[in-house]
């Protein structure tokens, strides 16, 4: 009897506490769904993404959003389509999140986007570059430059900034490489560039002897290369080993500390169009890079920076909307003006919810990625609108 009474009193107490917790504005939560490839081949980027998202949430919660706190609900999507669909449904259904960010690759962002669109959940793909992601509908946004603007920026950088005209192109034969190449080729005439040779390789390749021999025969003023650090490092080393001295201009995905670690002095002087400007005079970026290094044990890169900014941007939109209502926050997100993205000033979103943002160019100097130039011709960088 006595035990029963105690239990029932405890029960009432617990119920009261829950009620208080649920109604008290100070501890109310805004649920933010988050997907990242925490295991599998993309786990390195997944780890960076998760650390960056946690850092962003902590930063946001230090001040609060409309007096509430963000609760990050994370699922591992393994960068796979089927996992992304499964976890997106879980987030939108079971967990009832009102907002979502993808810290994962194109394939999973593309699979998750229609699910969040259907559920009316505003969704930002932080760094997925497949053009179809934002085509899922008006709830879907992207926080990174697409391939074609990256390619056009590279053409301008080579033709205008470096003033070089005769170029050999080496691209990876995936969607991103092809899209970037299309952008580059669409702008060659505008900048008076002549393409001497165009070669492609598969992401599995590490030996580029034939391509290197061909570039050598072209004898170009500059070599434009798209690739990830694990292809770029051997490729650049092999180009230099063959005695090719021409400047090398690389794509965004070169921008990983591992590139410098593998290729060492061979990547000195390589330019990277779309890399993260670590020298920017922005206290939040400096704090982010220092914190990231401490938590991850390696230097902060583009992936983490875009994820951090995507989470911050979502909270910013909710604040601007003045309500955690997803529809209103979506409108505020679409109306974003001059948001301080870690990768540059996010001027606005275009009608397809793609970013209008200047692009940074880095150069590898003394084993570090250093800022070299901004490509800020937003008309040239204009993303597709449909």
């Amino acid at each position: 009897m006595r035990t029963k009474l105690v239990c029932s009193r405890l029960g009432t107490l617990a119920a009261c506490l829950l009620l208080i917790a649920a109604t008290s504005p100070a501890s109310a939560q805004i649920k933010l769904g988050f997907q990242a490839p925490l295991t599998g081949p993309a786990a390195t980027d997944g780890k960076s993404a998760k650390i960056a998202a946690d850092m962003a949430v902590e930063k946001i919660n230090a001040a609060g959003v409309l007096g509430q706190k963000i609760e990050l609900i994370t699922y591992d999507d393994q960068a796979k389509t089927e996992e992304a669909v499964f976890t997106a449904n879980k987030l939108a259904g079971q967990d009832g999140v009102k907002f979502a960010v993808s810290g994962s690759y194109s394939a999973s962002g593309r699979a998750a986007a229609p699910i969040f669109q259907q559920a009316g959940v505003p969704f930002i793909s932080a760094y997925g570059v497949h053009p179809d992601i934002t085509r899922a509908g008006n709830d879907v946004f992207r926080g990174v430059h697409l391939g074609p603007p990256q390619g056009r920026a590279a053409a301008k950088f080579i033709g205008d900034n470096l003033g070089l005209k005769r170029v050999s192109i080496v691209t990876m034969d995936n969607d991103y490489g092809q899209a970037t190449l299309e952008g580059f080729k669409s702008a060659v005439d505008q900048f008076g560039i002549k393409v001497l040779g165009e070669y492609s390789y598969s992401l599995k390749d590490r030996q580029f002897g034939s391509i290197v021999a061909s570039v050598k025969r072209d004898n170009p003023d500059v070599v434009y290369v798209t690739g990830y650090f694990f292809t770029a490092a051997p490729l650049v080393t092999q180009l230099r080993s063959a005695g090719i001295q021409a400047p090398i201009v690389g794509s965004q995905a070169f921008d990983a500390q591992k590139l410098i670690e593998i290729a060492g002095s061979a990547v000195e002087g390589v330019y990277i169009v779309g890399g993260l400007n670590r020298d920017r005079d922005m206290p939040e970026l400096k704090e982010y890079l220092a914190q990231f290094q401490k938590r991850a044990g390696y230097a902060g890169e583009n992936v983490g920076a875009t994820v951090y900014s995507a989470v911050r941007l979502m909270a910013d939109a909710i604040t601007r909307a003045g309500t955690p209502d997803p529809a209103k926050a979506r409108d505020a997100l679409a109306a974003t003006k001059n948001f301080p993205h870690l990768a540059g000033e996010l001027v606005s979103f275009n009608p397809l919810r793609e970013i209008n943002m200047p692009m940074n160019v880095n150069v590898v100097k003394d084993g570090q990625f250093r800022h070299y130039a901004w490509i800020d011709d937003l008309k040239l960088l204009a993303p597709p609108t449909e």
Binding site: A43, D173, S200, G209, A213, F230, S241, A263
Partner: protein, 290 residues
């Protein structure tokens, strides 16, 4: 013209690498009729050991020797622990076990040494350039050609000139008769895995030096290419394997440039395989068929 010689030289380097890798596969297939897919993991293991030991001791030579020693033991252990218990089953059982081991080892590298792979702390060789008759080549490329030639010549001498080698060849062609002549078939099997794995270790070490980079999945691409090579060479034929390795290296080298825009490099390799098998179903050497 210099350009075509350049391409040929690159093809030769690819070919030598493939040969180091494929010889081990051919040896195992010839003796046990097992497709030893996990050989690719031995190769990756060799690459990792080279980098780790070289970074720890400061000497790349010690790294390579350690890799050869470790892989020799690993190869023999794979035979003893994985294949020997499965010898009474059809060969595909051992092959499936072998694929399983490759997957486990790849993930093992990932878990033990990290997703991003490893790099030599100091490796000046890939950027040391030499001018040989107008060709610019680096030290590692020369080492690949020289070392693989030396190893394969030694292997040929060993199998034709020494008692153990002759016993080995006898076991490959007819285990029962060889045994009745006093050849220890079990020792031959260990020898087989030891030599094949040592060559794979050398291949892994040289590729690690050339790329200045080892990564968990580095064995995978080589694994199916080496399979293509041994089929091309006429399963189990050592001579055929060497010819096929060089032929594939050259085909890839020229193919990347002339059809690379339509076909990726691996597709070129398999197209070549199909083309050869259509004309010569018994493989390039064609001494024996499976």
């Amino acid at each position: 013209m210099a350009y075509y010689i350049d391409l040929a030289f690159n093809g030769l380097v690819f070919g030598c690498m493939y040969a180091l890798m494929a010889v081990g596969l051919t040896l195992v297939y010839g003796l046990l009729r097992i497709l030893h897919i996990a050989h690719a993991a031995v190769y990756a293991f060799g690459a990792y050991i080279t980098v780790i030991v070289a970074n720890a001791t400061g000497s790349i030579a010690i790294g390579i020797l350690a890799a050869i020693a470790a892989c020799t033991l690993l190869g023999m252990a794979i035979y003893r622990l994985l294949y020997e218990p499965l010898l009474d089953y059809p060969p595909y059982v051992a092959m499936i076990a072998s694929i399983g081991l490759l997957v486990v080892m790849e993930d093992g590298f990932r878990i033990a040494f990290g997703e991003q792979g490893l790099t030599f702390a100091r490796n000046p060789y890939p950027t040391q350039l030499h001018d040989i008759a107008g060709l610019t080549v680096n030290t590692v490329q020369i080492a690949i050609i020289a070392l693989s030639t030396i190893c394969l010549v030694l292997l040929a001498l060993f199998t034709t000139r020494t008692r153990i080698g002759i016993g080995w060849r006898a076991t490959v062609s007819d285990p029962r008769i060889a045994t009745s002549f006093g050849v220890d078939a079990i020792k031959v099997r260990y020898l087989n895995f030891a030599i094949g794995s040592a060559l794979a270790a050398l291949g892994g070490a040289l590729i690690a030096l050339l790329n200045n980079f080892v990564e968990p999945t580095m064995g995978f691409v080589v694994s199916y290419k080496a399979l293509a090579i041994i089929v091309l060479g006429g399963l189990g034929s050592l001579q055929g394997t060497l010819i096929a390795s060089l032929a594939l290296g050259l085909t890839e080298s020229y193919g990347t440039i002339f059809v690379g825009r339509f076909l990726d490099r691996d597709a070129i390799a398999f197209l070549f395989l199909i083309a050869v098998l259509l004309i010569r179903p018994q493989g390039l050497a064609g001494a024996r068929t499976a």
